[in-house]
Symmetry: C2
Subunit: 244 residues, 2 copies
């Protein structure tokens, strides 16, 4: 049975320009696509208009920490609310989704290296559930908490759970070249470095450049595509950009 | 610096006879006592009228599982709501409390043995936070999910984090003998087996007998007392019953 890690970008599951607004219709359509998948699946979603607002307010990023406990409470609280909406949408479509909150599991050392024990997630998969994780905060040695991005979670989960395929559903149909065309395959960062910028909206977790760099380090092939191609990806096709 | 694991029983933080009702005033008073503690502290709370209702409805206990994903969603959802109330009460009193959701971290094997990675909790303690965990569900090999009690969490955390002292704040002032008097010290289960029954209200996680049996297995001394003695326990005194 194929094991897949699928990330739904923050800009896919939320209306990124409107504070704390779930993209209800888009999410319902994605849930139907996901319900059709027959295999072992982990879902990760980003923060979009839920997490990033609170992260900016508390001045927290992946490297800049907050020692005030109000910061993790506000950020993880907002992200759990979004996670509930994603889990509920999946459940309504018949997906056996269950929530997983990374702040409860993960930790960073002083160098920023992430430890993510996956015993619980693996146990959920074995029991036929679909664990749904989210970008979050994480205790960071000497920093209080920093941001743990959905993309970092995807990389850590894919390695630890020996995923066969990784999919990143984002707001764009793939990695774009200078002419705005989808690059079909990326095999090294240098080949696309010039054309990759940050994302348009406030994004404390890094844009496409960060994504590509992290995905190139994976054992499994990764695919970047938009919401229209989730069904094709889960059916085994290679929509958008393949990063391998 | 002393490291303490303190459990607040479900009947302490909720009105156990009223569905999903937080014991607001009692919780506020406890939070003030906890705020006065100077050391490394982990708080665990039980389910009371939040978790047990949903657990009964779905027919789940520590050994009897549920494969329907609606069961973990309902139980962990209700417990997160209670956890938010406990974290908020502690925060209002100035405790640097942060939420930890055990379903995201723990797993049981086919024999029911618990694995609880504590990297995140340890990281939170190192950063000066007070992690607040709760009774929850847990993925259980071959069973779907079963109940993970607050008492099991206390035992696993105390061992893994090398706690110096363990406190269990319950509805009674200690382990009671046949005459209803507090037993000052318990050193073996046999000595108190006859006088220990189950708890009065519905309790899927076992009563005082289960507590005592588990606490006797700890390296650190454990103390059982009621809400009036939390301040004394945190000050280093030995109120109620000492189990060692």
């Amino acid at each position: 049975m194929s094991r897949v890690v699928l990330k739904l970008g923050g800009s896919v599951v939320t209306e990124k320009d409107q504070p704390e607004t779930v993209a209800t219709e888009r999410l319902a359509a994605l849930a139907d696509d996901i319900a059709a998948f027959d295999g072992s699946l982990v879902v990760v979603h980003g923060g979009g208009s839920f997490g990033h607002h609170h992260a900016s307010e508390h001045g927290v990023s992946r490297t800049r920490g907050a020692a005030d406990p109000a910061a993790p409470r506000a950020i993880t609280g907002a992200m759990r609310e979004l996670n509930d909406a994603v889990v509920d949408a999946l459940a309504d479509a018949g997906v056996p989704a269950v929530p997983v909150h990374p702040f409860s599991v993960a930790v960073r050392d002083e160098d920023g290296s992430l430890t993510l024990p996956t015993a619980a997630v693996a146990g959920m998969l074995d029991e036929g559930f679909v664990p749904v994780l989210h970008g979050d905060v994480v205790a960071h040695a000497g920093e209080g908490v920093t941001i743990l991005s959905g993309d970092e979670l995807v990389v850590a989960l894919a390695e630890s759970l020996a995923a066969d395929r990784v999919g990143l559903c984002s707001a764009v149909p793939g990695v774009l070249d200078a002419d705005g065309e989808v690059v079909s395959t990326v095999e090294s960062f240098d080949a696309v470095a010039d054309t990759l910028g940050g994302s348009d909206a406030t994004d404390v977790t890094g844009g496409m450049a960060t994504k590509v760099r992290e995905l190139l380090g994976l054992s499994a092939p990764a695919h970047v595509f938009d919401a229209d191609s989730v069904a094709a990806f889960l059916a085994g096709d290679s929509p958008g950009t393949r990063i391998d």
